[in-house]
Symmetry: C2
């Protein structure tokens, strides 16, 4: 059994391979605060935090119990009865190629069907970071995940992928980026300076058998919220394309953090190849950073939709005075550059289910990407008729499906915005179960120096 | 036991008293189509339709079984355990006053607490016409009630009022008013030319005992939908206040129909006094019509909020060329006039729970009216502290509650806009239960001549 370290997000998936299992020497948890008091400087502290996380992941692999053959066949049987597509091909012999060992040569056009399944899996795990995020400014838990990590995949119907969430990742407002933090309007809140950014998940025994290695996914959330991104975007539309523009883009924070994460993982574990799978990511980084990623052997597959303008714009421009920390580190280098990595380009016009014309928001949504990826066969043929993903998902947070499909726009919403009637018939916001309440004290310590990873 | 015929809606409640029970001579139902083929002219047909409805209501009273004393005490006990206010005072000796026998003299300022309870009851029944209406243009049942009449009050938590819905009222697009019809965007729909407009409900034995007579409520829905009304309103704001303005106002259709309904009921049953209780109604009717209502003994109580501009505007201006039918009937009389009836004026500034300033939408919502009515004691004292209605209800469809209350704005919504996951995990719009599917053929017949009631 091989041990892998991958990262995933709306933008980025890192997959890394170790020649043999690495055992953690420490019992520190990713969301444990002990390490910070011992840390000497921000960069060292960040390295320690991620090292601990990685060790912990790898350690936890060996504590999982092995699935019996009967469980295995039952799950396979269940899979055969569900018409929704998910990975099931045995890729134990070619997973390295699927994660960029040969730079995805001869795998993308036409696409290898097994690779498509894998990419959809990672995309759906990344989508979970949006679906479970509490955007409600009237919630005292605004900015957190609505479920604890043990329930996340179950609540979102993702258990079929065969992964377990092992850690939640939080970032704090000390990451000095403009407008990325979702804040509750409520006075007494779980945390006024912290947001849930994603999770670490590990493949279970069955899935590991199918994919040829133990897979560790780090999924990062991208946009703050679709509507806010869109408002920001429209407000800043005129300034795009200018190198010195001040672009307020909370949007690409996830992408930045994921790249930093990949960089760091590759730098620390020198024998651990890392791959990044990004969806709809804007341009981020400078040429020094890009070159270092390349030298470290980080493989990047960028999935982009032709009609989505975000990947063609400079996402995060680090010339803002509020970001001078970055400038000091990078020595004033231009923080915009052509995309690195291999590109998988999807065409929104290939799908007969999507509205035509300019769809700024719709063409950028991750669900749209997954829909188009599901229907993608090659750049030369139209949407494949045997695509099996649920088309209704496209309209979760936008209005992109043609009206004939009768799927309401922006339908992803909770009943009565979370209000429920109590025993007296009064409408109240229920308290979360204790296990679902995030704990700011144990979360805030790890992420507030993540920006300093560039100081390496 | 006295038999009563009342009508209620966002705008209007009609209560009528018969000296003795009247028994129906026919078995025709309100939503039966038989009568239309026999009708000679529109006015006669309408008279017949309403006559049949009234007869049917009165007939149905006598088929209800009497509640036992033990049931009665159980219900009373339940009531005492719920902190949400609803009518419970015995008003069997003064219900006539409450319905305008003395023009509400000495009952409104300060308000008689029992009368307030009654008004809240009628308001909540009227609110049901909004809460249960299917506004979803992607639903094949758009424009209908989401529940069948036997489940309506149960679904909306209104069974405590002690009424049973006996009929549903539908209107058709042949009512030649602009922009009032909610239409589904779906091709195969339950009806392309019919909308659910309200219901007829009858008090049960217990409630009838408490209120001193059998109460028949006719509740009419007012606005098409809050957001559409608001859009319309803003679009036409500049034309308000001019007598010759063409105001597209689907909004006041319910009010118009209710007034016509009251007029007709009073005209047909000469011994049946009728009362109308309106909430937030704009000015409707002309002076001839108003005088006739007065002569027929129709009592009108108009509940208005000082800050709501709708009651102070000319709601439905019948000078539109598409409404020339009305002009022909009324002989070109000016269709705008000062309000008739007695006014109960509420002040939004009295409530400490509401945002200040201009709140065009919020101050017009029926739930806001009910909140202010619940807190109203007299024009001289502020919001009473012992008001017991659920304050959260105010924000159902607007953003009027102060942020400190943490109630999300516009929170009244169904999970995932009605989509549910099927056995395969796919998101689909579920079919309604057969009992909840409206039947256009039996509904369309009765209401398409309602406009001609003016021809009397």
């Amino acid at each position: 059994m091989k041990a892998i370290q991958p990262t995933i997000n709306h933008h980025f998936t890192i997959t890394r391979r170790l020649p043999r299992p690495v055992r953690a020497q420490q019992e520190l948890l990713f969301d444990d605060t002990n390490w910070s008091s011992k840390a000497s400087n921000p960069a060292t502290r960040l390295a320690k935090s991620l090292t601990h996380m990685l060790h912990n992941q790898i350690e936890s692999i060996h504590t999982q119990k092995t699935l019996t053959q009967s469980n295995y066949s039952t799950i396979l049987e269940d899979k055969s009865n569900t018409p929704i597509s998910f990975p099931k091909d045995d890729i134990s012999n070619n997973w390295e190629e699927f994660h960029g060992a040969n730079n995805w040569d001869n795998l993308l056009d036409p696409i290898n069907p097994s690779l498509r399944q894998e990419l959809l899996k990672y995309g759906e795990l990344a989508q979970a970071t949006y679906d479970a995020f509490d955007y409600d400014p009237y919630s005292e838990y605004c900015g957190s995940c609505r479920y604890n990590r043990n329930k996340l995949f179950e609540k979102l119907g993702l258990t079929r992928h065969g992964y377990h969430v092992t850690k939640y990742i939080y970032a704090t407002s000390q990451i000095d980026l403009p407008r990325w933090l979702e804040k509750s309007q409520v006075a007494e809140t779980w945390s006024t300076h912290s947001n849930w950014m994603g999770f670490v998940a590990v493949s279970d025994d069955e899935e590991s058998r199918r994919i040829g290695r133990r897979d560790i996914v780090v999924a990062w959330r991208g946009t703050v919220s679709a509507s806010e991104w869109y408002e920001d975007f429209q407000r800043n539309l005129e300034t795009f394309g200018h190198g010195d523009a001040k672009v307020e883009e909370g949007h690409s924070l996830g992408g930045a953090l994921a790249l930093l994460n990949a960089y760091e993982a590759a730098a620390i574990f020198v024998n651990l190849p890392v791959s990044v799978i990004s969806f709809a990511a804007p341009r981020i980084g400078n040429s020094v950073f890009r070159d270092e990623l390349h030298e470290l052997g980080v493989k990047i597959l960028r999935v982009v939709v032709k009609q989505d303008i975000v990947p063609w714009t400079a996402g995060m421009v680090f010339n803002n005075e509020s970001l001078q920390n970055f400038d000091e580190i990078t020595g004033g280098l231009q923080w915009i550059h052509p995309h690195a990595g291999v590109e998988l380009k999807l065409d929104a016009r290939a799908s007969p289910y999507l509205k035509r014309g300019l769809q700024l928001l719709g063409h950028h949504m991750l669900e749209t990407y997954l829909h188009l990826l599901d229907g993608y066969e090659s750049s030369k043929v139209p949407f494949r008729p045997d695509a099996t993903r649920d088309i209704a998902l496209v309209n979760k947070e936008c209005d992109l499906l043609i009206n004939e499909l009768r799927i309401p726009p922006r339908w992803y919403q909770v009943a009565n915005k979370g209000l429920v009637q109590n025993a007296y018939g009064r409408w109240v916001k229920p308290k979360r179960d204790p296990e679902d309440i995030p704990s700011p004290t144990s979360e805030s310590a790890n992420c507030n120096e993540m920006q300093y990873v560039l100081g390496y």
